[in-house]
Amino acid sequence: LPKIRDIGQQIAEALKGKSADYLEAHLEQTSSSHITYRGKKLESIGRSTAIGGNVRALVRGGWGFTSFNNLEEVPGKIELAIKQAQLAGKGKSQLASVAPLVDRVTAEIDKSPVEIPLAEKKQLLDEYNDIIWQTPKLQTSVINYSDSHKSSIFISSSGSFIEQERADVSLRLMAIATDDNEVQQASLSLGSRGDFSQIQSLHQQVAEMAKRSVELLAAPQVKGGEYTVVLDPVLAGVFVHEAFGHLSESDFVYENEKLRQIMTLGKEFGSAELNIVDSALMPGLRGSYKYDDEGVPASKTYLIREGKLVGRLHSRETAAKMKEKATGNARAVSYRYPPIVRMSNTYIEPGSVSFDDMIADIKKGVYARNWYGGTTSIEMFTFSAGEAYMIRNGRVAELLRPVVLTGNVFTTLKNIDAIGNDLEMNQGGGCGKGEQMPLSVSNGSPHIRIRHCLVGGR
């Protein structure tokens, strides 16, 4: 870190006395490694290092932003960002106040995953690939492993100087089975805050995944239409992220009068049992951090409490414009981008219903598990399950082809009529917004039941 720390101190001086309403700089130094397998063979293995930074300026409500790899050019970049902001700004700068902070946050891991010998990482992936390939009818497999270790410095014209370090590990495995002209796949995604041991004992799960890809070949596709759907904690986590989390990001809302009316605090969104939270303060999760990329301390924010809208996620600017408190949710995937409002760890709080009770009175429904992905347009969302089963007469029945679920946020949240007692956080995802992806987040939920959910199919 010494190199960027020295430059950071120079920048702290350089930001003083400029003709901008606010200035900040980020410096970043990252090392990472990755290993990819396709089929039985290792396909790609590599290491990379990056160093870069950015300067952001606010003048009369307009932002300028410059990013660069050559840190020697910083003084010129400060001037350029100010010039851009002057050109963009025609109104009034508003930022929620935050006390200047000087702090140093370490990665809280015994060993950086990047420094673990490649041979050791390869050994583990070889084990998983061997398990996958023990499955009959398997056509191919894909394994993507990556890790990173990042040191960053945040410097602001109001006197903050925050050094943070974080590490990340992510692993995605996919098994692909074929039969005549049919191709089916099953996958598994996991991640951790740099703790390699969290991906070290997945042998059982990997075997089940590979087996499922083959079973899907014979599985029928559900008939499209409305069903009572039960989501497992992983998929319900994706649902809460897509369906409600993004709507809680105030940059969608703050300058849109109509959306502000829809998102009035106190408005009822669901039943009294529904509580939705975003918290960057949960220890050890991929979406956790101490300070966001505007130097604001992280917080736990209730978005929905007892079915009513009670909060939302803010940057300093959205908070000021909506006259609310900054929540510490301004995040950037790297120094190449300015921070924007993002989630951290988003989850539905557990209720009291057991899984058996939840499906007991469903005559014909769909039990959807695991995830492929999800996306949202604010009002509408879709998310896709990695595996799905029919529910018949209160029991989980036959395996189905993966299903895509879609719906309207506002009606679907109200259609949640049972919340399980089994909260689990899922660490496998990466969130994309605009061109910024993947951002480390985690999602979670207990099992939930949704009435009248639209399922795509034949």
Binding site: G46, G64, F65, L80, L118, V183, S384, L454
Partner: protein, 434 residues
């Protein structure tokens, strides 16, 4: 660059240095107003070596860090895949124009003007719309040298503009949008705003979609969001080599509708996907992928081609400086002779799909897709009667593209990647809440 190569040659049988630098200036409008002006400079240097027959590689943002690059490449080469290819020596390249110096000289004020013009035009049509817009100029330079004596470089300029708008009434939301890109500066916003105004007109009324099998027209934007992602995977030589491409064994067999022709083409002048050579220094070309419904070729980089006992098609791509992987440059679907209006006139009851959300989340390899019609319209008796909502369409790309009623004469660029006309398909499964 030469310094890295010289050092690398000392420790490896073969070596290649790949350098990319870019300078991007986006001007962004939020909620109808100018909000953000950015300037993003970046550079990467990647080293690929073949050492003891195996591939090693490393990448850095700092080209002066020669030792770091070499140490990391040597370390990874111990475990890397066996190199089956040879780096290309000096090669003649096709003339592919990708740089227009006029892009760099477009001023910030002019870019701001274009953004304001797009927003004003759209707002004039629909007063309560809230627009976002972006105008971006970019210049990229790519250099490559290798130990076989191969040495090449090119520059590319790109200019893009786009506007999207949302209308909110109660909790009902409508999203419209369009964008355009070129290696020349774009001086007129009319093509983009005409499309958006047309979307607003067609979406003016609300219509109900029935729940059954219906004929569907995919507009060029609809083709991109619903049908293209599976084809990008299926024609990838790597997918074919692994035996998981549904068309992997179909070269020379007609599996698509006879009207369908598709090319990958990196040689079209002044298109953002064009380049004289790929990221391994292999000359660019136009590769037929589907000829009259029959798969004709797959796309390859050097290593995949060697494993498949064929030649690279010049599709080696290295996003972020990673190892090359086959990736399409630009997909071109041959236009047909039927006008969009004639397609509409043929439909008694059906849909026009402009954007399908979530289609790429299904079983891409198998070609199954299922998505929410985020922007689409109901057709009754040959006329668009309004937008549909809460509607999902599902199908399989290989079934859909094997039975096409008509191909439009309305081909256009979608983003920087696809040039496609509208496609009229006779039957697609529709699920709807009305």
């Amino acid at each position: 660059m030469e310094k890295i190569l010289k050092q690398a040659k000392k420790i490896a049988e073969a070596a290649e240095v790949f350098l990319v630098s870019s300078d991007e200036t986006p001007v962004q409008f939020e909620a109808n107003r100018l909000k953000h002006i950015q300037s993003k400079q970046s550079q990467i240097a990647a080293l690929r070596i073949i050492r003891k027959g195996r591939v090693g590689y490393s990448v850095t943002t700092n080209p002066d860090d020669v030792h770091g690059l070499i140490d990391n490449a040597v370390e990874t080469a111990e475990f890397g895949m066996q190199a089956k290819f040879e780096l290309p020596g000096p090669t003649p390249y096709p003339q592919v124009a990708t740089y227009d110096p006029k892009v760099e000289s477009v001023s910030l004020e002019q870019m701001i003007g274009l953004g304001e013009e797009m927003i004003n035009t759209v707002k004039e049509h629909t007063h309560d719309i809230i627009c976002e817009a972006e105008v971006t100029k970019n210049s990229v330079s790519v250099s490559i040298i290798n130990s076989s004596g191969g040495k090449a470089n090119y520059s590319k300029s790109t200019f893009s503009l786009g506007v999207s708008g949302s209308i909110i009434r109660g909790t009902d939301m409508l999203f419209v949008g369009e964008s355009e890109s070129s290696c020349h500066p774009i001086t007129s916003t009319k093509a983009v705003t005409d499309t958006v105004l047309r979307q607003l007109e067609w979406a003016r009324e609300r219509a109900l979609a029935p729940e059954r099998v219906l004929p569907v027209i995919f507009t060029p934007n609809g083709v991109m969001s619903a049908l293209i992602p599976p084809l990008m995977v299926a024609f990838n030589g790597k997918t074919v080599l692994e035996g998981v491409s549904p068309i992997g064994k179909c070269l020379g067999k007609q599996v698509f509708d006879k009207k369908l022709w598709l090319w990958d083409d990196a040689t079209i002048a002044y298109r953002p996907g064009s380049r004289p050579f790929d990221d391994e220094g292999i000359p660019s070309r136009r590769t037929p992928l589907i000829e009259a419904g029959t798969p004709a070729n797959f796309i390859y980089d050097l290593q995949t081609a060697a494993l498949a006992d064929t030649q690279s098609t010049g599709n080696g791509s290295r996003p972020g400086g990673g190892l090359p992987t086959p990736s399409p440059s630009a997909f071109i679907i041959k236009p047909g002779g039927v006008s969009f209006d004639d397609m509409l006139a043929d439909i008694k009851e059906g849909l026009v799909i402009e954007y399908l959300m979530g289609a790429e989340q299904g079983n891409i390899l198998g070609g199954d897709f299922s998505g929410n019609v985020l922007l689409g319209y109901k057709v009754e008796n040959g006329k668009i009667v309004g937008r549909v909502k809460d509607t999902m369409v599902s199908g399989n790309v290989y079934k859909v593209l094997n039975d096409i009623t008509a191909i439009g004469n309305d081909a256009k660029w979608v983003g920087g990647f696809l040039n496609s006309p509208s496609l009229y398909c006779p039957r697609l499964s529709v699920a709807s809440k009305g």
